[in-house]
């Protein structure tokens, strides 16, 4: 997105103030022309695949086709209000919130823990890092297919081991109370290693001299963590939280493979709801309306977090 913001480019030549507005504009434009030309290819692709698609969604959300044989009809905001009134959508939003919070916090916590434990590079930690990073390399669909067998009731890997301790074995993916959490486990397992990388990078950036000073002042490991490392990692945290939130909305491969949003919509997430509207119900209007709502929420969230980050950078 940053590529497409020519406004943010520094203007090379600042014209003398007595030139009139038109000339000023032309001079400025001429000066920045090469920059615009360089940006053009990206702009074309963004227009085609991002802004164009968003515009199309905006238009589609305003139309509705009642039955297959009926023509498209302009319905204004009806689609949006229909989506907001749909209990399945509200359910998907709530599921998605639980899912986002329930996967972001544990996976970020684990990632930080791993990063702290494996910050120093030697043969053992490299091997462990590789092992923890491995789930990231497995495609989500493949990972889900593996977990399909792990979660298999009674005969699956999980039940084989847990089965000795529990009186009644849970039907991991078939019980609406558990299914969402089962899916969250996969996400945490898969993402923790990925976020660990960011924290490892963040830890490298913690200034050596500050740490040394803390050592000399007799700060214990907890104090060093609390007063030096965590504050230094704040930008990393913000970044990882944004990524985790976006992941929670954009990754639904495991829902496709494992549960198809079931049982009884218990694992239905917003993106999967959109997919259902578009391809199962064949209702492009509603699908577009739900997409718009999601986009709006995501953009607000991203803008908010970037502002927080910017504040932090320019702050004292």
């Amino acid at each position: 997105m940053s590529l497409a913001e020519p406004a943010a480019l520094p203007v090379a030549v600042s014209a003398p103030p007595r030139l009139n507005l038109m000339t000023r504009f032309t001079t400025r434009f001429k000066a920045s022309l090469p920059a615009y030309l360089l940006l053009l290819p990206s702009l074309v692709f963004l227009a085609l695949f991002t802004y164009g698609a968003m515009g199309r969604v905006l238009i589609d959300a305003l139309y509705q086709r009642a039955t297959p044989r009926a023509p498209l009809r302009f319905v204004g905001l009806d689609n949006i209000s229909a989506v907001l009134a749909d209990p399945a959508f509200t359910g998907a939003v709530i599921n998605n919130l639980i899912y986002a919070i329930g996967t972001a916090i544990p996976s970020i916590g684990l990632a930080l823990l791993f990063a702290l434990a494996l910050a120093r590079t030697n043969a053992v930690t490299s091997a462990l890092r590789a092992a923890l990073f491995l789930p990231v390399l497995i495609p989500m669909v493949a990972a889900s297919a593996l977990f399909l067998f792990i979660f298999l009731p009674n005969v699956g890997l999980l039940d084989y081991y847990i089965g000795r301790f529990l009186p009644v074995l849970p039907n991991w993916l078939g019980d609406p109370d558990i299914a969402l959490y089962a899916i969250m486990i996969i996400t945490i397992w898969k993402n923790a290693g990925y976020y660990m990388l960011f924290f490892l990078a963040g830890l490298q950036a913690v200034p050596e001299d500050v740490m040394e000073a803390a050592h000399l002042d007799g700060a214990g490991p907890y104090q060093r963590l609390r007063y030096i490392i965590l504050p230094e990692l704040k930008p990393t945290f913000l970044f990882v939280i944004v990524i985790a939130t976006l992941n929670a909305v954009t990754q639904v491969d495991h829902v496709f493979v494992l549960t198809q949003g079931g049982p009884s919509n218990a694992t239905n997430l917003v993106l999967f709801y959109i997919y259902q509207q578009a391809v199962e119900h064949f209702d492009i209007g509603r699908a577009s309306a739900a997409t718009l709502l999601t986009l709006a929420a995501l953009m607000a969230l991203t803008a908010l977090s970037f502002r927080t980050m910017a504040n932090r950078e320019s702050g004292p």
């Binding site: 039955t67 009186p167 009644v168 049982p263 009884s264 391809v279 064949f282």
Partner: protein, 440 residues
């Protein structure tokens, strides 16, 4: 010189008209979308089948494209129709044909049948009568039955004997089945180590099993003549769901929660479930993997013996060009011929829809060796069409979501069915407004 050149040119042009294949166009390339809805190595078998077809038909080059489950295949077919590049033929879940016809997504096959000099009745006469409900819409042929199924009761014969039951006299009524399931369930304290029976309930399978139970309880799932009505909130379906729920929560002989088909068959193969209700499409998989003696039997009845048809038909999507249509029609006729459908039936466990398939020597031989393959065919006498409505998948899910809640002990059957009926009527509303409620 001039003469011979003209002759050459003439010959070339004649050739171009007569054999487009020789005019540098090569064979007509067509795609066949196929799903794998049940266990087993269907994808490899499909490769074998298509290779044989291509070898026998040099002017056509068919490619088999694997498209996932039945539901996925519908979605992918629709996407490719929208994109303007539909595959020439699709093995489509038989109950989606009505929905697709309503959406104008199917090629009417009547003219292709007429072009062969055959009548509709002659053409359809090859297939078991029970299959026609899902192939003929408004007296026009839209699908050709390819592999079909009925649900079956699979019994672990060894475990039955162990429990003092005679596997040669399988349960015929719900009462007997309940009794068997109780005797076949093993417990250690509260913990169940062996389930008496397992019935799959995952999207797609769940609706089919509900139709099965409702039919054996004397009822219907939907209006067979019109795509705008379902009968969820009826005594016959209430009885069916109540019995299923009783197996889970009252007798505790059926694992709780929603279980997909592969989990049920794995459970059965591993001896964790002593009986299961599953499609005959899984029969070959069971035959090849069960390390014990098993029996297959009719689905037990409460009121009457009845089963829904399952499986898939071959269709030509709307918008396929004429030459590809022709090639697809050749492929479809070849695949549904007695020999090929018999071969496919032996490979998969589905029954062959073409009645003549059972007269081929290979099939007679096979049935003598594997009498379990006969059960599904025998059940055809009591088979009825698979549910098919406007927007089949959402309407089916309206019921399945509620059934899953019941099997998880979250809802009582009656309130679940009332909710399912209400949701389905909401989904069907636009179609009814356009058809049955649009009064002159």
């Amino acid at each position: 010189m001039l003469f011979s050149r003209r002759l050459m040119l003439g010959l070339a042009m004649a050739g171009a008209f007569a054999f487009p294949a020789l005019a540098g166009e090569g064979p007509t390339e067509i795609d066949l979308f196929f799903p794998v809805p049940v266990d087993g190595k269907l994808a490899r078998d499909m490769g074998t089948l298509i290779k044989e077809f291509n070898e026998g038909h040099p002017d056509i080059k068919a490619t088999a494209v694997y498209t996932g489950s039945y539901d996925d295949t519908l979605i992918k077919t629709r996407a490719s129709i929208k994109a303007g590049k539909p595959p020439a033929a699709v093995i489509m879940s038989a109950n989606f044909l009505l929905d697709m016809q309503i959406e104008n997504e199917l090629t009417n096959l009547d003219s292709l049948i007429a072009a062969d000099g055959s009548t509709k009745d002659q053409f359809l006469g090859q297939f078991f009568p029970a299959l026609q409900g899902n192939a003929v819409i408004n007296r026009s042929v839209y699908g050709v039955p390819f592999h079909n199924s009925t649900p079956l009761l699979y019994i672990n014969a060894d475990k039955a004997k162990e429990a003092g039951l005679d596997p040669n006299k399988p349960p015929q009524t719900w009462a007997e089945l309940t009794d068997w399931a109780k005797k076949l369930t093993k417990r250690e304290g509260d913990k169940v180590t062996q389930w008496g029976i397992a019935i799959p309930c995952a999207y797609d399978y769940c609706g089919w099993m509900m139709e099965t139970l409702t039919m054996t309880n004397g009822g219907r799932y939907y209006n067979e003549e019109f795509g705008g009505e379902v009968y969820y909130d009826t005594p016959s379906m209430l009885g069916a769901l109540t019995w299923w729920n009783d197996l889970v929560s009252k007798y505790k002989v059926h694992p709780p929660g929603a279980t997909p088909g592969p989990a049920v068959s794995t459970s059965f193969i591993s001896g964790n479930a002593a009986m299961m209700m599953l499609s005959t499409g899984s029969l070959t998989y069971v035959r090849e993997n069960a390390k014990f003696n098993y029996k297959v039997a009719f689905i037990p009845r409460n009121v009457r013996n009845a089963v829904p048809i399952g499986g898939a038909s071959l269709i030509i999507p709307a918008g396929v060009e004429a030459d590809k249509q022709k090639a697809a029609w050749t492929l479809i006729k070849w695949m549904t011929s007695p020999e090929k459908s018999a071969w496919w039936s032996r490979a998969t466990g589905y029954f062959a829809p073409n009645m003549a398939a059972y007269k081929t020597p290979d099939m007679v031989d096979f049935l003598n060796k594997n009498p379990d393959a006969k059960t599904a065919v025998e059940q055809l006498d009591v088979a009825k069409p698979w549910f098919a409505t406007y927007k089949t998948v959402p309407v089916r899910k309206n019921l399945e979501d509620e059934v899953m809640l019941v099997l998880n002990g979250k809802k009582q059957p009656k309130e679940a069915l009332v909710a399912a009926q209400k949701a389905a009527e909401e989904t069907l509303k636009p179609y009814n407004a356009e058809t049955s409620l649009k009064l002159p």
